[in-house]
Symmetry: C2
């Protein structure tokens, strides 16, 4: 076709990832998030303790609050017999003051009464009749009690700006009574399917049409990586429609699923050039070569190949680091396993190869059919990233499989 | 206290996990899920292809559809000149029949016209004037085309009952036009905070009260593990209230965050015994000893220790495998790293120890303060599970850290 432009200069995977890293700016958008749904978010403020935790000195055990001096010679054959002068449940205020020879029943979490300086576990006592208890073991001062402020001092920083909110961190914030947090907004992703031939699952296929695959893999993947995803209607294959569609958006990322190849009707590169900048177009990787990174206004534009395997493979290789950086998420620590190839695998000579594999009995079975085949990826458990080298990887070679 | 009952028989961690595995039945509840939100769910049906993918033979490249016999002697110095008789875009129906000496411009995804049996890439051609093109390389039959059904044969099983829906699998299902899937329901978890002394973050503390921590760590953790979580109001510390609260529920799991210890007011074991069965009460682990597993009707009851660190540690050790099994999720492959301890760590002699650690410069720094301290876990990056052994682990010992 007269208008066809081959990809002229491929960037290497390393160059592409470096460009993505440079172009992806950690978000500054923040929003107030109730603590109920703050798990998995990233804090946009330091959280300081307005109270000490615990706020009062309390018992770590069910047992008896004592003056340690009263029980220092206690033993199984020489019990210290103490008069029970109170009963302190968690949530109650200890009102009595313990004098020598006295003790107070106390539940875990109960407030230590004045005068007491330790707690004897119930297991180390023996109940008597008539309001006294035999203590069978000595306890040092401070034993089995939790001193006010020992967990979190008043004014201490409980969590810092930029921290990822794992369950334990959410708990620590709850402990100081904070119920709403300023968090960074999740990266916003708009998926824009293109292609006159593409229709949505559930509709009826006409000759020449295909179901939209990439929108679904991209949405699922982007959500898994932590983004908030909006999907647009399928955009016409015309430069005008593309320009109009892009102009309307203000998301952190606009992803086109298809259309960044070299064909006459692949107009995304033209639309992006007209509205902003093309950062790269074409990466020395297989699958995934006809990938475009651009910038329009404050939105990054990622043009994905139309082939389902290339598109999904790109989601793991290119989209995940973008979302991680923009969302300020911890660098993903995707699981890997080392396995031996069950069969020889074809490589893209001189390019990086993304090799989808299935794990079977400890072996890595290559399942790549072709870039166009969705089953190349959908039957895989993960992929091997093979740097540019020869044209094949021998059967039995040890490979590192990155798991989905 | 007269009513106190020490934990009489601790089960080992192995016994506890075995009991959890036996008691946790994979869910049979299913629901219809639109493909838009099926990522991360587990299929409850086999999905078979009602159509072949692709439904028609198409081009894998932008280029020219040819009869391979016409170009078998083509070369840069000996181009095969073919007449362009058509132009086929993706989504259009190829109407012309290719005769010898003819070719058709074709875009990636375009339907191969009858008569053609291969596609020459645009890079291997040179455009001429007046409606012809020079082919500079021979192509074998079948080159650069995707044969109908080569990706997915009509009738083939695209995904199986029990499969976890990774992005690629969602894409494969979209490819055959299916827009709604029967999936297993997410395990349902009800978190029931207990304790007269416990109030919600955001409220004002009175003397003796503490903020609810465990509800937040449990909810966040259970959601991370794939469950659907409902949180109830704080339940009174009375057996009657507990019995009423439990009777009302039909969730897969009811979790009490506190109250399964041995104290007089720790009434969960009584309530569970009255309504159903206590499977175990007390595990030889630190933190996490006063843990209860029970069954009431079809609900499993998990009684968590009240101490925040014990409770959160239990979420990783006991709750995650329950949710994984009930939800039919793939066995979690939590990341681990091997590191050396930066300092000696105290162990619970004769018990399994869960040792929270922070990773710092490649070292594992023990951060355990005490079971009651939320900061024991909230400052950790993961934990080391140390089997029952001596009373300490020496500085410099190599440990496997399971990351959050």
């Amino acid at each position: 076709m007269s208008g066809m432009r081959p990809l002229e200069k491929l960037v290497t995977l390393t160059e592409a990832l470096r460009a993505i890293d440079r172009a992806s700016k950690p978000t500054d958008r923040t929003e107030e998030v109730p603590i109920w749904s703050a798990g998995g978010r990233v804090l946009a403020e330091d959280v300081k303790a307005g109270i000490a935790v615990p706020t009062f000195t309390k018992s770590a055990m069910d047992g008896y609050a004592v003056r340690s001096a009263d029980v220092k010679s206690a033993g199984a054959n020489n019990p210290a017999v103490l008069k029970i002068t109170g009963k302190i449940f968690a949530g109650h205020v200890a009102k009595n003051v313990l004098k020598s020879g006295q003790c107070s029943e106390i539940a875990t979490g109960g407030m230590l009464p004045d005068g007491a300086d330790a707690v004897v576990k119930v297991e180390d006592t023996s109940a008597n009749k008539r309001g006294s208890v035999s203590i069978l073991l000595p306890v040092p001062k401070g034993e089995n009690i939790i001193v006010a402020g020992s967990d979190i001092a008043k004014g201490a920083r409980v969590a810092s700006k930029g921290e990822f909110l794992y369950p334990g961190k959410v708990g620590a914030i709850a402990a100081i009574g904070v119920d709403s947090l300023r968090c960074y907004a999740r990266p916003s992703v708009v998926v824009m399917p293109t292609g006159d031939e593409v229709i949505r699952p559930g509709e009826k296929l006409k000759p020449g049409q295909v179901y939209d695959v990439n929108t679904f893999t991209l949405k699922t993947a982007a959500q898994t990586f932590g983004a908030e995803v909006d999907v647009r209607e399928i955009v016409d294959d015309s430069k005008e429609s593309l320009i109009e569609a892009i102009s309307f958006e203000s998301a952190d990322m606009i992803i086109f699923s298809g259309g960044s190849s070299v064909g006459e009707k692949d107009l995304i590169v033209d639309a992006v050039s007209e509205l902003g900048d093309v950062i790269f177009h074409g990466v020395s990787i297989r699958p995934g070569k006809p990938t475009l990174l651009g910038k329009v206004g404050s939105s990054l534009v990622l043009g994905m190949p139309g082939h389902p395997t290339s598109c999904l493979s790109n989601a793991y290789i290119f989209l995940e680091p973008m979302i991680t950086k923009i969302g300020r998420f911890p660098k993903q620590r995707r699981n890997t396993v080392v396995a031996r190839l069950s069969a020889e695998a074809q490589l893209a000579e001189g390019r990086t190869t993304v090799l989808p594999v299935k794990l079977d009995g400890g072996k890595a079975v290559p399942v790549f059919k072709e870039s166009s085949a969705i089953t190349s990826m959908s039957n895989a458990d993960g992929y091997v990233l093979v740097p540019p080298s020869g044209s094949r990887l021998r059967k039995g070679a040890a490979v590192t499989v990155t798991l989905f």
